[in-house]
Amino acid sequence: MNRFLSSIGRAINNLRQSWLISSITIGIISICLFLIGGYLLITHNLQGVFQTWKNQVTITIYLRDGFPEPDVLAFQDRLSSLPEVHSVTYTSKDEALAEFGTMLGDDKFLIEGLDRNPLPASLRITPGDRHRNLDGVNSILGAIGDDPLVLDIQYGQDWLDNLDRLLKLLDLGAMVLGLTLSLAAVFIISNTIKITVMARKDELEIMRLVGATESFIRLPFLVEGVIQGMAGAVLSLGLLGVVHAFLASRSDQPLLRILNIESIDFLPLSAIGAILLAGMLLGGLGSLASVGKHSR
């Protein structure tokens, strides 16, 4: 414990003595984490949009006339019990006509005086959250099969195809961007810390000459890297906070209204924790890697 405390002391001392290069390292770490955090901020806020779009994925089954209500209810129960299904809502012929009448408004007279109701009854299936995609819908369609009750099925196939492709593309983009930024961050950070290690080459040499153990030499560098990483992470979160505050103050932008975003949220606690942890890990590992390379 004493040794660890003394390492912290030596790390802080080193940071103070090489404040310029330390500031550069902290700055670079914060820029890398800012980019990653900015990306997280955008995707976090777009989750709401994706969810709104996904909520529109429903399947409507129009039913043939003339089947007794118990048959329809049994069919509804069978569909409700499917694991992919969240809920099934029944709309009777009369309810369909009444809804249509409401939609027509002043033109309601068009359907008054019909000798029979031309609208079919229907079942509206809302898939479970994880199944609001092409695979989920196909799975439900397979389970419906060739039931004699079914007159027609509508689920906006083209729209669903496009949404599915868009979401997959965004997922892929997220992965590529996240990976690229993380790799770039590790590369830049380890090289920057390498400069600080190179600058202390003489100190490392002398410590070894007077009989310091490798752990005694490396521990302060590790602590230093972790402190720099944490400072970089805090700085990047601060910058993200400023950007967030700026965007939030302009949340009446037309684009946001089109995207159906009511307010711009800041990063969730889990993402803030991840950024802090990532900073400390990047700083610590980058530093260890550099000291290892230049240790002998």
């Binding site: 004493n2 040794r3 003394s6 003595q17 003489d202 100190e203 040499e205 002398i206 410590m207 070894r208 000459l209 007077v210 009989g211 310091a212 153990t213 490798e214 005694f216 002998r296």
Partner: protein, 221 residues
């Protein structure tokens, strides 16, 4: 104390820096290693503090075979040695006191004990009044005394010095040698590599003479 058996060191193939060296330095000895540039003086010292490994042969230092010492155990050897160089190797971002204290910090000695021992060592070498100074503001002789203080503060059993009077004038050189004689009188084995023959003559100690990586004279006391 120190024994070398048929030690050779090749930096490049067919270019030996040391060839078939047999040497014995008993406890409490004071020996100069002399020879022209490229004779192998520095290489011999580097072998003794395990900065380099012999290509052939065995080296015993204080009872342990350092030719086979694992890298992870080198620090145990270095803690028994004091090492002094021509270029002092002082850290410019630490003052005199802190430079000397470094040798004790790495041993995990309590701060109060470090302060006591560093102060006594600086006093013994006559530079205690400059303990808060930056080493770069000191004269060459003073800087070398700081380096010697750092080498001696953990009470080594062997003191190795590579051209310790290299950049110093005659008077400063003699002061350094007086310090070494004093250290030796207190029981520390001292080995000094130098090409300053005037100093060697004045001191009248044992001379190990190397040329072209071979031992010419002084293999045993």
């Amino acid at each position: 104390m120190i024994q070398l058996f048929h030690v050779s060191k090749l930096y490049q193939k067919d270019v030996p820096a040391l060839q078939d060296l047999n040497l014995h330095v008993p406890k409490g000895d004071f020996a100069f290693i002399t020879g022209p540039s490229g004779a192998g003086k520095s290489t011999l010292l580097k072998l003794l503090f395990a900065e380099e490994r012999p290509t052939h042969g065995q080296i015993l230092v204080h009872g342990r075979n350092i030719a086979r010492l694992p890298v992870s155990r080198i620090h145990t050897l270095r803690r028994e040695l004091g090492i002094v160089f021509q270029d002092f190797k002082l850290l410019p971002n630490r003052n005199v006191f802190e430079n000397v204290a470094l040798a004790l910090e790495v041993l995990g000695i309590p701060r109060r004990e470090i302060s006591r021992r560093v102060w006594l060592m600086l006093k013994r070498l006559g530079i205690h009044h400059k303990m808060r100074a930056n080493p770069l503001t000191l004269s060459g002789g003073e800087q070398q005394r700081v380096a010697i203080a750092r080498a001696l503060v953990n009470e080594p059993i062997i003191l190795l010095a590579d051209e310790p009077t290299g950049g110093l004038d005659t008077e400063a050189s003699h002061r350094i040698m007086d310090v070494f004689a004093d250290v030796n009188a207190r029981g520390t084995t001292v080995i000094v590599a130098t090409h300053n023959l005037e100093i060697v003559r004045t001191m009248g100690r044992r001379v190990i003479h190397l040329e072209g990586g071979r031992l010419l004279t002084g293999g045993s006391p």
